[in-house]
């Protein structure tokens, strides 16, 4: 699956890190780095992380698994 984090919005609350620590990491106090292409097996965790983000900074692909090619 594909994700992007709007780091302008992200305020380093680290909710996502608690819920999907394989895909979101804090380097230092506030600087978030993330895996833009998490394994599909971790979709549930990543979706939970996105839902829990207090500022809704995590953008998730809505087309994964949908019909048509990636460049539809």
């Amino acid at each position: 699956m594909r994700i992007a984090v709007d780091l302008n919005r992200c305020q380093g609350y680290a909710q996502c890190v608690y819920l999907a620590h394989k895909d979101f990491r804090l380097t230092g106090q506030e600087a978030l780095t993330y895996e833009p292409n998490p394994d599909d097996e971790r979709r549930l965790q990543v979706e939970r992380a996105a839902a829990a983000c207090p500022v809704q900074a995590i953008l998730i692909d809505r087309l994964d698994g949908a019909k048509g090619s990636a460049t539809s």
Partner: protein, 467 residues
């Protein structure tokens, strides 16, 4: 039919069957296409991009990807909705015929449009000496391919990396080098890293940050030439003070060039700083007249901003691309009075040396700075920029959550120095000069630039039309 009814019918027909062409298949292009569909546009959308890849995200390239944590091809942008577009990837737009309303492609094809969005962004400025730039081991960083190559070179590992230019990308590259435990020398013509974007006071803090992390930082110096070995691999950088630095990887982070060459001759207000447009993304022609069918968004756009004396603002920031694309898409399929302005308060983030640096507003518009929260010593603070008693920007080091507060004050042209929120005030809250370089002093060009008042003032060529 009454006139309003006829207009409504035309709009309905356009939304159903119109042809929209987007040139530039990256962040702004993709978000515009998604927004067009979200607005109910069901006509044809064609997206033209010279890179062979579907849209991907650039910020991770200089961070996660260089570090080797994420492969470069894992950065495809998520699709927020179906765009149902004709994708023309790997082909360059080479010309625009406004009279025939066609975009010319490198393969000779002409793509007709009813409405066009220009989202061709910027490219990295290459090392100016072409022979030296062609040496193996010399890189710049803008695309997925750049990142993949540079990542490989850093993993080799090199004996030393030289980074030329300490703007945001140069600083992020240096930071990654140190995280990878690579010796790195940063050469910056300005007095400190980030001075163009954030001024000398913050630049000094950034310089300490570099040095504390073991970067060999050389400011006030340029690289005069690069030397290669007999195999054509870079070996040494010669600096303007006569010294040399041995290195086998050189990263030129010299700022960017706007991709406007393909618009040559189209009569748009395009030039060095990008394509001039109104706050609704509608492109200006060369005489400052707004066009009806051509729109601009993202890094290549330049539009007047009400908060900054209506000066044209050029911004190379992620959220500017997203929000500018959404506003342009909305205006492409709506009519006055339903136009929407794109009057974003500029904002960016950067992650380097384990720190989160964020800013809102246009710091170089200010001439004074005041530390309002936290502690510079602990590298955890917020500071505000002011001009003539008004707050115009703010910057935060590991203090991101306070930026919204400063952003609101900036939007209201609040007082400077601003009333700091809450607690945690530094002992000395006296405004001091922010120390931006004088115009003309060479330094990295900041990512947000005020470029004057009228669309042709900076860069666009003036060609009066015969009456």
């Amino acid at each position: 039919m009454t006139v309003p009814a006829t207009v409504a019918e035309l709009v309905r027909q356009f939304r159903a069957n119109g042809r929209i062409v987007i040139v530039g298949a990256s962040l702004a292009g993709l978000r515009a296409a998604e927004a067009l569909r979200a607005e109910g546009f069901t006509g044809s959308v064609t997206i033209i991009g010279d890179e062979p890849y579907e849209p991907y995200d650039r910020p991770p390239l200089s961070k996660q990807v260089l570090k080797g944590w994420v492969p470069a091809d894992h950065t495809k942008l998520p699709r927020l909705r179906e765009v149902n577009a004709q994708w023309r990837l790997g082909v360059t737009a080479t010309g625009l015929d406004r009279a025939a309303k066609q975009v010319r492609l490198a393969d000779g094809e002409q793509i007709p449009y009813d409405r066009l969005l220009i989202a061709t962004g910027t490219r990295a400025r290459q090392w100016p000496n072409p022979d030296e730039a062609a040496l193996e081991g010399v890189y710049s960083l803008r695309s997925r391919d750049d990142a993949a190559q540079l990542q490989k070179a850093l993993a080799a590992p090199p004996s030393r990396v030289v980074v030329i230019g300490a703007g945001f990308i140069g600083s992020e590259v240096a930071s990654v080098c140190r995280e990878l435990d690579l010796p790195v020398t940063v050469v910056e013509r300005g007095s400190a890293p980030l001075v163009g974007a954030l001024g000398g006071v913050i630049g000094e803090i950034a310089a300490e940050m570099h040095r504390d992390h073991g970067v060999d930082l050389r400011c006030g110096l340029g690289v005069s030439s690069l030397e290669g070995d007999s195999g054509g691999h870079v070996r040494r950088a010669h600096l303007s003070d006569g010294t040399t630095v041995d290195a086998d990887v050189v990263v030129a982070s010299l700022g960017s060039i706007r991709n406007v060459e393909w618009l040559e001759g189209a009569g748009l207000a395009s030039g060095f700083w990008g394509v001039g447009c109104d706050a609704g993304g509608r492109a200006f022609d060369i005489n400052g007249v707004v066009t009806d069918s051509i729109y601009v968004a993202g890094d290549v756009a330049r539009s007047p901003h009400v908060l900054y004396e209506y000066q044209f603002l050029a911004m190379e920031h992620w959220d500017n691309a997203v929000l500018g694309a959404e506003a342009a898409a909305h205006n492409m399929v709506n009519l006055e009075p339903h136009y929407r302005p794109h009057l974003l308060l500029p904002g960016f983030w950067s992650g380097q040396f384990g720190l989160n640096i964020k800013s809102v507003g246009v710091p170089p518009f200010g001439d004074e700075i005041v530390f309002t929260q936290g502690s510079v010593k602990e590298r955890r603070f917020a500071a505000a920029y002011g001009r003539r008693g008004r707050i115009v920007a703010a910057v935060a080091f590991d203090h991101g959550k306070w930026l919204e507060y400063y952003g609101k004050l900036i939007e209201q042209s609040g007082p400077f120095p601003p009333p700091p929120p809450g607690w945690d005030h530094p002992p000395d809250m006296k405004p001091i000069p922010a120390e931006f370089p004088q115009p003309g002093v060479p330094t990295a060009i900041p990512d947000v630039v005020l470029t004057g008042h009228d669309p042709s003032e900076r860069g666009a060529e003036f060609r009066p039309r015969p009456r």
